[in-house]
Amino acid sequence: GAGVSQTPSNKVTEKGKYVELRCDPISGHTALYWYRQSLGQGPEFLIYFQGTGAADDSGLPNDRFFAVRPEGSVSTLKIQRTERGDSAVYLCASSRGLGTEAFFGQGTRLTVV
């Protein structure tokens, strides 16, 4: 595709439920990043992949959060036992390599009720 695509655009879930957020990076981009953006704040880094492996997951807030990229392209961010504090916009970005510009998707707005 022309840009980074994230699905769904919006997700409303009940507290305690499990959710999956999907990111389709720009074709050919080897690096993929996940960020979380709370209202009125800048994006906060969660995790990034170089190829299939998670190169740095230091931003994941706790073990309820997990992300995979099994074939080095599409990535899924998984959140278990969601809490109201998980409500935010989850952004995905991709880049050709680690030292190149990252392009962001439009984000998934997650609301936990």
Partner: protein, 115 residues
């Protein structure tokens, strides 16, 4: 620790005026900075970047200035248009990091352009 922050959370200008958005950083070892524009409901969009070996860099209607002495950078937008209304973030790679996608973002400045 490192931090990237902004002086002014909001800026309101008239169409055609020049806009200046400021950002302060605390890590004197920072060597690369990026400005992003984020419109409502969209992800951040790259505007311009600058490396620490430069004081100034110009793009189309935008200029970034870097003052390493006081650890300050600014984004200047010439002839601001209503389409420039957005939140603007400065960002830098995490300290010691080699990835330009693993970034620390500032709080952001809301720019509103009145016709």
């Amino acid at each position: 620790g490192e931090s990237v922050g902004l002086h002014l959370p909001t800026l309101s200008v008239q169409e055609g005026d020049n806009s200046i958005i400021n950002c302060a950083y605390s890590n004197s070892a920072s060597d690369y900075f990026i400005w992003y524009k984020q419109e409502s409901g969209k992800g951040p969009q790259f505007i311009i970047d600058i490396r620490s070996n430069m004081d100034k860099r110009q793009g189309q209607r935008v200029t970034v200035l870097l003052n390493k002495t006081v650890k300050h950078l600014s984004l200047q937008i010439a002839a601001t248009q209503p389409g420039d209304s957005a939140v603007y973030f400065c960002a830098e790679p995490h300290a010691g990091g080699t990835s330009y996608g693993k970034l620390t973002f500032g709080q952001g400045t809301i720019l509103t352009v009145h016709p």
